[in-house]
């Protein structure tokens, strides 16, 4: 699930108020403020600063009170590999498929074509059901689901024109600016923008609800 990545930033600024701190601490703090809990495009979700490898500089540029460093550092990154088998909790079910949560990461989606075959969506219970050997196995909310990582995507940030304007009330924005599919604007509360998406697949023996295979 996790990898170690080495990054380099040539523009790490230590603000004047932090110049009294020991250098390593000031630089670590600055890096953490910028990178931790952010998704680095095409890399993954940065969880924690592992270590500072090297830093140099400390140049003070004209009209700037901050000292600028070039820093090379290692980060712990959440980046599952395609084909990895993980377990998540079912947090949402709709006709399009499932949404699972890993606890610290919720953008795991299993589209309806990747569910166990044959599965149907029960409109009354609003749950997916797998018909196996004349039994109906419901996928209940909160169930632990084992899945295979089918894909990892990093959608580009939506452009300003695609996002609801600040100040629009949530409903106004969603209704008046809904796109052709009737979906709310990307970036609104009902359809938040996810910079990193995991696509899962549960159409194999051993995958799906843990309770099915015990």
């Amino acid at each position: 699930m996790f990898i170690l990545s080495v990054l380099s930033d040539s523009h790490v600024r230590i603000l004047p108020e932090n110049l009294a701190k020991p250098r390593e601490e000031a630089i670590s703090d600055a890096i953490e403020d910028i990178y931790v809990d952010k998704v680095f495009p095409n890399l993954g979700l940065m969880i924690s600063l592992y270590e500072l490898v090297h830093f140099e500089g400390g140049t003070i540029y004209q009209l700037d009170g901050a000292a600028t460093f070039t820093v090379t550092f290692k980060m712990v990154v959440f980046r599952p590999f395609v084909g990895e088998i993980l377990t998540g909790k079912l947090i949402k079910s709709d006709s399009k498929g499932l949404q699972l949560s890993l606890g610290f990461f919720n953008d795991v989606y299993v589209p309806e074509h990747a569910l166990q075959d044959p599965s149907t969506f029960d409109e009354i219970e609003k749950l997916w059901v797998w018909k196996i050997d004349d039994n109906e196995a419901f996928m209940d909310m909160g169930e632990e689901v084992r899945f295979r990582v089918a894909g990892l995507t990093f959608p580009p940030e939506p452009m300003a024109s695609q996002v609801g304007a600040l100040g629009d009330s949530e409903n106004e924005s969603a209704n008046k600016n809904a796109n052709a599919c009737g979906e709310a604007k990307l970036g609104s509360i009902s359809r938040p923008f996810a910079p990193m998406l995991l696509q899962g697949d549960i159409n194999s023996d051993g995958l799906g609800c843990l309770s099915w295979w015990q």
């Binding site: 996790f2 170690l4 380099s8 930033d9 953490e32 890399l43 924690s48 088998i85 606890g103």
Partner: protein, 135 residues
């Protein structure tokens, strides 16, 4: 561009290693950070720590892990497969088959899954059985 990825994957980290790193950063409310830090751990560090606390990773010792890998050595598994077996040790054949591709054909099909389950039971049997007791 001021930021560059120097090395996308300098290494794979097992959940146990990440758990240990986060604990050192102070994510465990009962264990002070080492080396001492002036700042609190970030919310996402705490969130990942809490998610991992509920998994076997939180109780796997370095010794267990080393011995587990030694036992898996002759089985010809890939690095990725060994990682998955460590992060989520299988206790049923069906689980082992899902993690190891073409389980039947490997090691001339002679109970590869059984050997894996045996190694899991030997090194992590206790760890897996005490999972309910998350303190």
């Amino acid at each position: 561009m001021t930021v560059a990825v120097v090395e996308q994957q300098a290494g794979l980290l097992t959940n146990a290693e990440v758990y240990a790193v986060l604990e050192q950063r102070g994510a465990n409310p009962n264990v002070p950070p080492c080396p001492p830090r002036t700042r609190d751990p970030a919310p996402c560090e705490v969130a990942v720590w809490e998610a991992l606390r509920a998994t076997p990773a939180a109780r796997q010792t370095r010794q267990d892990i080393k011995e587990f890998f030694t036992d898996l050595q002759p089985l010809g598994l890939t690095k990725a497969e060994k990682m998955m077996l460590l992060n989520d040790p299988p206790t049923t054949p069906v689980h082992a088959h899902v993690v190891i591709e073409d389980c039947e054909e490997r090691l001339s099909g002679e109970g590869l899954a059984d050997k894996i389950l045996e190694a899991v039971e030997k090194h992590f049997g206790e760890v897996l059985n005490t999972e309910e007791d998350v303190g």
